[in-house]
């Protein structure tokens, strides 16, 4: 029997676990291996720092199991990558691992579920501010003695990316409780965590928000009830393009600051905020450079490791000097490749990926490139927070923060009127010199689903090849990875009349994969 060739030949049937490390040529394989070892170093350091606490956390929280599979997750996100792309991805991901492990240590050290009655944990909680995961925590820089934690990020968002099966149990719990099955899996997962009492019991207060959609508004109500922390809503306006709503946005932030001062007993430090905003501006400038590079013929850093890092940086580590250090390092690597004019990948198509990507198939971009040569030069989820914050005065910083919230992850396009999302797509298509669009049809996203036809007609009118890829954000039981691939396969074969670059990737079974 002829030996199967291609990337899929290295994947175990159904679980898609790599049989051995991917061969990427001598230098790239060595770099990848060293970074993989660095990741293990980060994880071992974390596990060894509080061994009893961490083991208790794994036993207490079902979602913690997903974090044990992180090395495999990172391998998936780097699948097929070479050169600067690989280096950028590994550095970004390892920085992410390093920051997440630190935050997990803070969370578990304060968690009253793990340390019932502990005075030490109680003291720690007085300095922990919980915020809705879609509220960027840059505001927390103004409370330098406190730690602002994105409440749902660690039990929900990251696990949903790392292990596609992690949301299923919690979504089922929500549905057993009575929530309709048609709501978006993200708020449904959060509701399931609250129902199961699987959120860590931390913090002295909570800042909630209406970000990014109607489902998120409603799941907050359910979570607040279960969590029981003093809370306040930070109401971020929806028609964010309008100047008239900005005063309201600023007043809401002022009100949130007053609430946090009251519950933490700390005075808001405007100088610390200014420092944080300036660091964030430099981080953001690094991102602008990456976007510029991706507009060239040699897009050096694309895909999940880029957008996932962007989301994480915008939401969780905005204003962090270590994140900036990583950005500068990665940009240096990327610039070098662009300057050399080398493109280590086979790129047949330059695609704009629109709407939210699928969490349960975070390495979909890798598959697109490896199988069909479709390079994700621009992704909607990656494009947000495009303005710098003016730090010249308190008022200007508040205005900048208000904008930072209003143009946050997901909502920068899904809110502000349909024209924001639709017109921006055609603009980015031109800007990035793209030749096709991958449109994620997230079936439970009602705000975007309700303008499906406008996208279809717009693409038809402009004669842009647009493939619609069905997905359900983080529920693999609705639409599997295989079905997502099939949507692309059918389009590429029947509409574009093309043959795959790697035929082994056209059809394979990874339903049991993490």
């Amino acid at each position: 029997m002829k030996k199967k060739k291609g990337i899929a030949a290295n994947l175990a049937d159904k679980t898609a676990i790599q049989k051995h490390r991917e061969w990427r040529g001598g230098r790239d394989t060595a770099y990848d291996y060293l970074q993989w070892c660095r990741l293990w170093g980060i994880l071992i350091k974390w596990a060894a720092s509080h061994p009893v606490q961490n083991v208790k956390a794994v036993w207490r929280y079902r979602w913690m199991f997903s974090y044990l599979t992180v090395p495999s997750f990172f391998d998936r996100l780097c699948e097929g990558q070479r050169g600067a792309g690989l280096r950028g991805a590994r550095n970004n991901l390892n920085y992410l691992a390093s920051d997440v492990t630190k935050t997990l240590t803070t969370i578990f050290s304060a968690d009253m579920h793990l340390h019932p009655g502990s005075k030490k944990a109680e003291e720690l909680n007085k300095k922990i501010i919980c915020v809705d995961e879609l509220l960027p925590n840059l505001l927390g820089k103004g409370f330098p003695d406190c730690k602002m934690i994105l409440f749902q990020e660690y039990p929900m968002y990251l696990p949903s990316l790392i292990n596609q099966h992690s949301p299923v149990h919690y979504i089922e719990q929500s549905e057993i409780y009575g929530l309709p099955a048609d709501v978006c899996p993200l708020p449904s997962f959060e509701a399931g965590l609250a129902i199961e009492d699987d959120f860590p019991k931390i913090g002295c207060c909570m800042l909630t928000s209406n970000m990014p959609c109607d489902g998120s508004i409603m799941t907050t109500m359910l979570q607040e009830r279960r969590i029981g922390l003093p809370s306040q809503v930070l109401n971020v306006p929806l028609r964010w393009k309008e100047e008239e709503v900005q005063d309201y946005a600023i007043e809401e932030i002022k009100s949130a600051i007053a609430f946090l001062e009251e519950h933490t007993g700390q005075k808001f430090d405007w100088d610390a905020l200014k420092e944080g905003c300036e660091t964030w501006n430099r981080q953001n400038e690094c991102k602008f450079e990456k976007w510029d590079m991706n507009r060239t013929d040699i897009p050096p850093h694309t895909g999940s490791s880029a957008w996932l890092y962007r989301i994480f940086e915008h939401q969780a580590v905005a204003g962090e000097p270590l994140a900036l250090k990583n950005d500068l390092k990665v940009n240096k690597i990327l610039h070098k490749q662009v300057a050399e004019g080398k493109c280590p990948k086979t790129i047949r198509h330059r695609a704009v990926l629109w709407n939210t990507p699928c969490n349960n198939y975070a390495n979909f971009n890798n598959w697109l490139l490896n199988c069909w040569g479709i390079e994700s030069v621009c992704e909607m989820i990656d494009i947000h927070g495009e303005d710098l914050i003016d730090t010249s005065s308190r008022e200007s910083m508040l205005r900048g923060l208000a904008d930072h919230y209003q143009t946050s992850t997901m909502r920068a396009h899904t809110k502000g009127g349909s024209e924001v999302m639709i017109d921006s797509l055609w603009e980015k298509y031109e800007e990035y010199n793209a030749d096709m669009i991958i449109m994620f049809d997230q079936i439970s996203c009602k705000g975007v689903g309700a303008i499906n036809g406008l996208f279809e007609e717009g693409a038809l009118k402009r004669e842009i090849p647009m493939v619609r890829v069905r997905q359900d954000l983080m529920d693999p039981t609705s639409i599997t990875r295989r079905e997502m691939r099939n949507d692309v396969n059918v389009f590429m074969q029947s509409v574009m009349g093309e043959e795959p670059i790697d035929p082994s990737l056209v059809e394979f079974d990874d339903d049991q994969s993490w």
């Binding site: 409780y177 009575g178 048609d182 209406n210 109607d214 489902g215 005063d247 024209e419 309700a450 406008l454």
Partner: protein, 398 residues
């Protein structure tokens, strides 16, 4: 009971999105302002020669076209509105007053705008952003948004008088209609009420979807008729409930309740009487616009309001209505695919039962409920459970 005066005429009016009273008012120079949500203050759309029409899509059949444009996971009401506009059934609308408060609802007007579905040279639209909690700066935003995006275009493009005096006149007219409904609502408190749930639902619907000036004379006569109307000798109602929930403009829902001999004592749903058919108090020491906007924001019962005091207000409103109208239980209904009411229905079905001691049924339903056997069965079962509870308490009738 004998038929209620004008009830058949009302039914006839409700058969069309653009009914004869709307067309007549337009012939008389009225500006038809379509809207869909309590966030858009109805009373302000009735200033000067403008008149409000809460949009419906009666006799909705296939939703194939809207499914293509809006996907199949969108609430039936919004898809039906889109479909009706696509068919040309909304060409009478001169101005579409919308709010970016429900992402599905706002997409209707955006689709209409982008696809140019309204064949009316005067057609225009306005979309407001509205807060989801009560605060002084929230009131300010809400008032400014209404002034800039709704009243200003009405004044500038249609010549509608939106002055303080015009707003006060609109409030007076609104209060007259509301006074009629308040009196009729009192009749629902009777042990053997002289008005049926279906009739009340129809009255509410015509009052929302017909021009005030045109429908008011009929409503006055209906009230007169009700004042002297006598209920049937035998009380046929087995249970009394408060119905709470999302947009409900199909009065067949109330008919299903009637068939299960379940009396809807109070209606706390969109297109119902609570809120919407209460008199608005105005004082002379503050601009009418500010007072009206604050009133609508504070009385709004949309689950979109996520601050704790509004969440509690919603639950307490249900409890208070149940007490005031002697209800035995609560029915929380949700239009399928409505995210807001999907969560609210789930949570409050349990909260009202466990924390307020009110037997509560949660249901989801299609936009058109006519012929829903499943709904009828669930209502019958709920009524039986309420009866059993009454018997166990020893206060029920055999």
């Amino acid at each position: 009971m004998k038929d209620l005066k004008h009830i058949h005429y009302y039914e006839q009016l409700l058969e069309q999105t653009a009914n004869e009273l709307i067309l007549k008012e337009k012939e008389d120079g009225g500006v038809a302002v379509g809207y869909t949500c309590y966030y858009v203050p109805e009373v302000l759309l009735n200033c000067g020669n403008a008149f409000s029409v809460r949009l419906r899509a009666p006799n909705t059949g296939s939703l194939d076209i809207s499914q293509y444009y809006m996907s199949s996971f969108i609430c039936g009401y919004t898809r039906a509105l889109f479909e009706r506009a696509f068919e040309g059934g909304m060409n009478f609308v001169d101005f579409y007053a919308s709010s970016d408060t429900c992402q599905q609802m706002v997409r209707v007007v955006e689709n209409i705008r982008e696809l140019e579905l309204i064949n009316n040279p005067r057609f225009g639209w306005g979309i407001i952003d509205a807060p989801l909690k009560i605060s002084p700066h929230g009131n300010k935003l809400y008032t400014e948004q209404i002034r800039d995006h709704l009243l200003k275009p009405l004044a500038e493009n249609y010549g509608v008088d939106v002055s303080d005096e015009a707003i006060r006149a609109a409030v007076r007219e609104h209060n007259e209609i509301s006074a009629i409904f308040e009196e009729i609502s009192e009749m629902r408190k009777e042990d053997n009420p002289r008005i049926t749930p279906r009739e009340f639902h129809i009255l509410c619907l015509v009052s929302y979807s017909c021009p005030n000036a045109q429908i008011l004379p009929y409503l006055r006569e209906t009230l007169e008729d009700l004042r002297t109307r006598e209920a049937d000798a035998t009380n046929r109602w087995r249970a009394r409930v408060v119905v709470v929930g999302s947009e409900l403009d199909d009065y067949d829902f109330s008919e299903i309740m009637e068939n299960a001999r379940c009396y809807v004592a109070a209606d706390r749903y969109c297109f119902g009487a609570f809120p919407g058919r209460q008199q608005i108090p105005l004082t002379d020491d503050e601009p009418a616009l500010d007072q009206v906007c604050r009133y609508y924001l504070e009385t709004n019962q949309c689950p979109r309001f996520m601050s704790q005091e509004k969440i509690m207000q919603r639950r307490e409103t249900i409890r208070d209505l149940a007490r005031e109208y002697n209800a035995d239980g609560v029915v929380i209904e949700q239009a399928k695919f409505c995210d807001f009411w999907g969560y609210e229905r789930t949570l409050n079905t349990q909260v009202m039962q466990e924390e307020y001691g009110l037997p509560t049924l949660g249901i989801d339903r299609e936009y058109v409920v006519r012929g829903s056997g499943q709904l009828a069965t669930r209502m019958q079962a709920f009524v039986e459970s309420l009866e059993i509870k009454k018997i166990r308490k020893g206060g029920g009738e055999k």
